[in-house]
Amino acid sequence: MKKIFTQKLLSFGLAMILGLSLTACSTSSSSATADSAESSAAEAESSESSVAAESPEAASAGSTEETTGETGSTETDSASGDSDLAAIQEKGTLVVGITNFEPMDYQDENGDWIGFDADLAKQFAEYLGVEVEFSEITWDYKVMELEAGNIDCVWNGMTLTDEVTSAMATSTPYCTNYQVLVYPAASAADFEGLTSLEGLNIAVESGSAGEDASEALGASTVPVQSQANTLMEVAAGTSDAAVIDVLMAAAMTGEGTSYADLAYSVNLNEAQGLESEQYGVGFRQGSDLVDEFNAFWAEKVADGTVEEIANTYGLQDAVILE
């Protein structure tokens, strides 16, 4: 009898520990949110009361006063609502979702992020009055990363495809790009001037614009994890050719790389009779950061900053300056 009792006691104890730890986790998170809600409510209250104290007219004037003047109160209002701008200013950092993608976002010898996109992202953060933080993501999960709030924008030479524009709020396009066919230089004669990819095994990045283009041109595709991996497929002879961004092809093939014996030429957008693709920055759907970005971009184009940075990274032909 006694041993059964002690064993039951032991198992109850363990169940209690499990239960307690679960409730402890959930209460700690809920109390945290309650705290923040409380504090923002308190802030909103205090700013309201200060408004009322300063000018009774303002309080009665109502909507016009709210939209024009009191930045304090609009900020706290929107922080508790869904303004991305206010949320970012409150936490003090803009988290930029990137992958390692020369010449847009890549690391220098010291491990600092540089590149056309990275340099401008730093300036955008400055424009918003916050710190910038670069977070490498898995490209397939970019929408999930945004929706989960792990990152605030995707700024990584992202082609504005239908998939992207339907899942994110995107900026005005800032760069043009097209897809090219990369093949072994030794068999260049077989590939130059192709208008159809039928019968070819083409390595593409899973979910990329290159995958769409290859499928449209009748290729059988081999989806791999990154654009860089597609080149390895071609170099190893496991795929006939690869379809990637021209910017990447320019940076990664030829002299001084591991892919010195690969070449590229065919413009697949032309082959399909399509216009060039455009790069844009992606934000959460409905985010007010899109307007902020467009205003920021117009300002930086006007003062020549964008052109200067484009020249630094060899993008003078691709960047859109209007």
Binding site: K3, I4, T6, Q7, K8, L10, S11, F12, L14, A15, I17, L18, S29, A32, V95, G97, T99, N100, F101, E102, Y106, Q107, D108, E109, G111, E133, S135, E136, I137, T138, Y141, M144, E145, E147, A148, G149, N150, I151, S226, Q227, A228, N229, L231, M232, A235, M248, A251, M252, T253, T257, S258, Y259
Partner: protein
Amino acid sequence: MFFMSAEFQTVVSALNEGFLKTVQLFFLTLIGAIPLGLIISFGSMSRFAPLRWLTRTVVWIIRGTPLILQILIIYYVPPLMKLFTWGGGETGRFTAVTTAFIINYAFYFSEIYRGGIQGVPVGQQEAGQVLGMTKSQIFFRVTLLQMIKRIVPPMSNEIITLVKDTSLARVIALQEVIWMGESFMKGNRGYAGLIWPLFFTAVYYLAFSGIVTILLNRLEKKLSYFH
């Protein structure tokens, strides 16, 4: 000489950085999962049926789904459901991955523990009872050490697997050693289009699992006096 070149040194220092994350993940997983697994194994051996079935159901769920999926669920589902967020930075990703690994490995370990405990002949517990020992005395003085000896070989197996499983962490962009190796294909720290760093990461895994194997073999030898 290639091993003295700037290219080699840059790549190796980046791989070292990634490998440090791999090693941290490895040890934190063991520190978390070894004790947690014991608690879970008590749950799955409990005489209190609801607790036993609950634990065994969770064991089935954790062992029955891929670790890569568990990592994705743990990292993305709570923020998508607006419960809490791990954070988008390196720390947040590391914490989420470590949590996923600890949970996954604790449930695997728990089954190994259960096998080890139930493999000790019942007669020994009965003998303990006859001598008037309490339940916990029997567990700690009779069962536990014999269980440890029994579980060392299967645990070694799991621990060696863990060395290599850490590479799954890169699914949510934790920059462990394979991620770092791959980064030189696209371009990293001034070098682009390098293939060899990815394959070179094998050296790290082999060295690490070699050391772990030697340590575990020593442990096994030390425990052999029980026979």
